[in-house]
């Protein structure tokens, strides 16, 4: 029964229907340039409160270690949790549908768009901003580790270790998960309440 005490609080709100999921994921995808994850955190956790920070990190953890685009995996899991396969397809269609039409139209009408000097410059500026948005998202989610069974210091070490391994040393994600991740999971398993 002690497992129940470590369960995070349930999120205060939930989507009313698969159609609402479709609508919200369409809206968030259209605000995502250079990465949709910061927008997803903003809308799903902060605005709609459909997920707590801890749940968002847990879902993202699975989405990251599985193959495929992280945000698409996260959308599928979120939709599936609420309305099964219908919800999963609604979330994925929202995320990809309208943006797919836009990007194909851009490719069809003017594939050289991105090589215009002003557009190339704008893309560099947007790239720097998307880097900052992801960093901000990470910093915002970090406090959700407070209740983590690993304990403060080991959790901080794992966070910094993973960031350095992938960001600085460019170790492929798979190896970091199998190495650092295995150690981290072993410590967690040992420290979890029985």
């Amino acid at each position: 029964m002690s497992g129940l005490t470590t369960e995070p609080l349930e999120p205060p709100c939930r989507p009313a229907s698969a159609v609402e999921i479709l609508r919200v994921f369409t809206a968030l995808a259209l605000q995502g340039f250079g990465g949709v994850l910061p927008v997803a955190q903003r809308i799903l956790v902060e605005r709609r409160r459909w997920l707590t920070s801890t749940e968002f990190v847990e879902m993202l953890a699975l989405a990251q270690v599985l193959p495929g685009p992280n945000i698409v995996n996260l959308a599928l899991m979120f939709g599936d949790r609420h309305f099964g396969v219908r919800g999963a397809l609604a979330a994925m269609s929202g995320l990809l549908g309208v943006p797919l039409v836009i990007v194909v139209l851009m490719a069809a009408l003017y594939s050289q768009l991105a090589s215009l000097p002003a557009v190339a410059g704008a893309l560099r500026g947007m790239g720097a901003v998307s880097a900052g948005l992801v960093v901000g998202t990470a910093l915002k989610l970090a406090p959700s580790l407070r209740g983590n069974p690993l304990g403060r210091t080991p959790a901080a070490m794992m966070l910094i270790g993973a960031a350095l391994a992938v960001g600085w040393l460019r170790v492929p994600l798979v190896w970091v998960v199998l190495g650092l991740g295995a150690v981290s999971m072993a410590i967690a398993a040992w420290r979890l309440p029985r």
Binding site: Q31, P99, V103, L123, A128, G136, L145
Partner: protein
């Protein structure tokens, strides 16, 4: 009309089938996102098959960055350049089908067994790494832009915006686009 549906028509049915299978394979290997498979994708499409030029491949990836939505949509632009709308369907379904099935199966298994020690250890143990990977993503995105004086300023503004406001990230993105288009990132 047929150019829209099938592109230049350089790919026959057998080639499209090979394309589909190759993208399915890449999907299963795409741990860390579809973008991690671009080196292999380029090797196969440009080097081995010669279906796209190096420049076409690079502009496909760049074009998708200028559009809203998940980064995986660069796969659709590649599909369009290979074989029109049919190519879009082949590359998108190929690269999303296997990972979609896996994600649903894994997520359901995890939910069914959420009281199990192994599942709880995974969630608790992976949480700090997950946040570390996000920091690393920021690093990797900013790295090629290190030479520009505006980069650290934009990174800092965007991170602060994310941390201390609840407004849409579209605003700092717009700022970045204006700063870059104005020529401050040359």
């Amino acid at each position: 009309m047929s150019a829209v549906l099938f592109g230049s028509g350089q790919l026959d049915a057998a080639a499209l089938w090979a394309l589909f299978l190759h993208f399915m394979l890449l999907s299963v290997l795409a741990v860390g996102g579809a973008i991690t498979t671009t080196p292999e994708m380029s090797r196969w499409l440009v080097g081995e098959r010669g279906w796209l030029s190096d420049a076409q491949f690079t502009t496909s990836v760049a074009l998708a960055q200028a559009a809203p939505g998940p980064n995986v949509l660069f796969v659709a632009v590649i599909g369009w350049n290979l074989a029109g709308l049919l190519g879009v369907a082949v590359t998108m379904v190929g690269s999303l089908l296997p990972s979609t099935v896996l994600a649903l199966l894994a997520s359901r298994w995890g939910t069914q067994h959420r009281q199990r020690r192994v599942v709880r250890a995974f969630k608790a143990g992976m949480a700090p790494l997950t946040i570390g990977f996000l920091l690393a993503t920021g690093w990797v995105l900013a790295d090629p832009l290190r030479g520009y004086a505006a980069t650290p300023v934009l990174v800092a503004i965007a991170a602060a915006f994310m941390l201390w406001t609840r407004a849409s990230p579209l605003w700092p993105i717009l700022l970045g686009a204006v700063v870059g288009a104005a020529g401050w990132m040359e």
